[in-house]
Each structure stands twice: as C-alpha cells, then as structure tokens.
Symmetry: C2
Subunit: 210 residues, 2 copies
DNA sequence: CATATTTGTCAACGGTGTTGACATCGGCGC
DNA sequence: GCGCCGATGTCAACACCGTTGACAAATATG
C-alpha cells in the first residue's frame, strides 16, 4: 500500500476545490494539501482532467440510493435535484461539461436508473432515449450555469442578484419596456427553486408526450 | 483613432478561437494574429474574461432579427435554436457559463424579446420570470454541454458517439440491463435534434401551465 | 536475499494571464 | 507652430500553471 491512493487524492482534492473554487484549483495546491510533491498525483491519474472526472463521480456517491418509489416522475425529479445539489456543493462540474462520456460508476448508475424508470413508465424505446437526454441536459446544464454563484456566500450572491436587477432597471424604458418593468421580478427565489420549476415543466411535457 | 479597437480585437479573437479552439485560445496567440504585442489588448479590455464576454455577445449579432411572428412558441423556439447555434459555432460559450450577467447589447435584446413574447402570451408576471429562466437555462446549459463535441469534425464526433455506445453495450448485463439493452439507441440523431426535442417538451409544459 | 516494479521527489520546460515602466503618437489649448 | 497630456503600443518581468524525465526510496515478487 502506498501513502497516496486515488481515494485519498480525490477526497483531498474535493476538499481543496471546495475551499478555493474551481478556477484556483491546481495540482500544486493539491500537492500542498496532501503534503506531498504535486507531481506524485501523476502516478495515480494520467492528467488533471482525469482527476477532475473522478472527483465529479465521487461527489455523486450515494445519489441513487433511497429515491422515492411513488412514481417515475417523483423518482427522476428527486434524482435530478440531487445530481444538481451534489455538483453545486463541490464545483467540479466544469469537468463534466467538458464533453467526456459517463464511464464512471455513479454516472453509469444514474443512466441505468433513469432508463429503467422511463421503461417502467411505458415510454417507447426511442422516446426513452430522447427523454433521458432532455432531462440530463437540463440538469447538468443548469448546474453548470449556477455553479459559479452557488459557491459564493449567500449574502454576496444576493448582492450580485440585486446588482443584476438594478442593471435591468437602469435600461432605457423605450427600448427595453419589459426588462425595466420586470427587473425586480427577475432571478426570483433561489436558483434551486427556479431549476425545480423548469424540471417540473419539462417532466409535464414529457408525460403528455408519452 | 488607434490601430487596435475593441471591434477589431473581438473580430480577430473570434477568428482565432475558431481555428485553435477554446482551450488553446490565449492572449499571446491573439496578439500574434493581430501582429501586435499581446498586452496591447489590455488597453481595451480589463481582462481576458471581459474579452470573452464581448466575443460571446458579438457572435449573437442579429440573432433577434426576422423571427417568426406566428406564435410566441414559434418565436421563442427559433430564438433559442439560434442562440444555441451561434454559441456552438464559436466556442466562446464557456465564458457565458462562468456566471456573469447579460450586460451586453445582444444579450439584453434577447431577454427583452423573450419577456415581451411571454407577456403577449398572457403569462402572469411571476410566471414570465420563471418561464424565462427555464428556457434560458436549458438553452445555454445544453449548448455548454454540446460545445466541446460540436467543434469537432463530423466524422470524429460520430466516432466518439459510437465509442460511447459500445461502452454502454459492454457493461455487465445483470447490473445494467437497460443501459446494455438500449446502448445503440443512445445519442440518437444530432445533438441539435435532441435539444429541439427537449425544448419542445419544455415549451409544452410551459404552455399548459399558463 | 536479490531483483523488478511501483511510488514519491526534484528540477525543469514551455506555456499562461497580468502588471508596471517606458516610449510613442495624436489631438487640443494657447 | 509649440507644448502638453492622455491614450495607445512595446517590452521585460512576475507569479503562476500542467506536465515530463531522471533519479531515489520503498515495496512487492521471484
């Protein structure tokens, strides 16, 4: 057994990225946190990208367990919300967005579960594939967008939202009547709630198309 | 007048990023393309991030013009497809996903148009905000996910899709019955078509919730 | 015990975004 | 036209970054 294992490295890496954020996360910093030479990491991961993907999968640990069994909708809905929460908690998501396929364990479990539930629900095979991709794109995409702000402290996040609203409000009334008029209604509630709304509407649409 | 203007820089930058891709795009390369010192760019943009946002907005030029007037759905649908196409064509999108607000001209025009159409359609003010965020999250998020593959030549993209499918097919049949069974149906058609499907279902859901 | 493989360390390469000092140029008031 | 001043471009440098190859120590294997 060696001092550094993939497990130890990934755990430490998630810890570090949670503290310094995605942009500031570097192999050198990780080496410091592990009290080891930064390049030792390359004995366990081929590249930083590979490490990031492993981190992403690690943060999804247990995400498919204990989901509601009431209906396919409830199950998929809760799963998507968990995936989002997991990725927002640890801003590793940029790695998932880099276009790599889900070859890791938890990612595969997620795919299998969604396909199974859609099958149970009575979708046709090709409709299953379409619905799967639709749900995943919204979930991952939304998380990617919200990730940078989610890592900020709540007060600063609110300050930024307020700033954006006043940007809209300050526009020319003639050219942007709706933006100015609705400025204070934009970015309503939390990003989580807005995502849940979008997901519910998408599931509505999928259900009627079944 | 100076040799370098924001307009000239942005145009050249979009050209460069189109040739070398997002990852390889650097201030130094841009300086080379402009036949100027790389740091001259900092006389016109505070940071690389600011430049990337300007590039993103530039690639959205004209996206709100000549949209269908048949219905709010048709209009928003076409707009979202155009936004996606514009951002996939120039892989600048990662900058938009970095969480910055839409302070640039074309981004503001998009917001205004969507809000106006939803208003026309008879949505309540708070429902307008929710629907706006839902549509934008799906569009931008989806583009962010598909961006890396979209920049590849078609044949290599197909090769990658095929590789992913065979990854699924090679899984253990007992643990992953649906993934293995449906492997050849995953990633159906083009990414554009899959996005259009998701968007249509979302719009379905929004319409019934009106 | 000897050997071979894995694992950690170190120095270094070629790249990155960004900054500050310096030179140059254009336009403006006198 | 002169002198000035701010805007613009150049240059060297800083502090990082991901990654590689040579070497040493430790560990497993015969």
């Amino acid at each position: 057994m060696s001092r550094l294992t993939p497990e130890i490295i990934v755990t430490a890496a998630i810890d570090v990225i949670g503290q310094v954020g995605f942009e500031q996360f570097s192999v050198r910093r990780l080496g410091e946190a592990l009290d080891a030479d930064p390049t030792a990491i390359y004995r366990h991961f081929r590249s930083k990208d590979e490490l990031l993907r492993a981190m992403g999968d690690h943060s999804l640990e247990g995400v498919v367990e204990g989901l509601p069994t009431t209906s396919w909708r409830d199950c998929i809905r809760e799963l998507c919300i968990r995936i989002r929460a997991a990725n927002l908690a640890k801003p590793v998501l940029a790695s998932l967005v880099r276009g790599a396929p889900p070859r890791h364990r938890n990612e595969l479990l997620i795919t299998e579960l969604i396909l199974a539930k859609l099958h149970e629900a009575g979708f046709e095979p090709s409709a299953i594939a379409d619905a799967y991709h639709a749900v995943i794109e919204l979930t991952i995409g939304s998380a990617a967008i919200d990730s940078p702000l989610a890592s900020l402290p709540a007060e600063e996040r609110d300050r930024i939202y307020a700033e954006w609203r006043s940007d809209y409000a300050a526009l020319d009334r003639r050219s942007f009547p709706h933006s100015t008029g609705m400025a204070r209604l934009l970015y309503p509630g939390t990003a989580d709630r807005r995502f849940a709304f979008a997901l519910d509407r998408l599931l509505d649409g999928l259900e009627t198309a079944r």
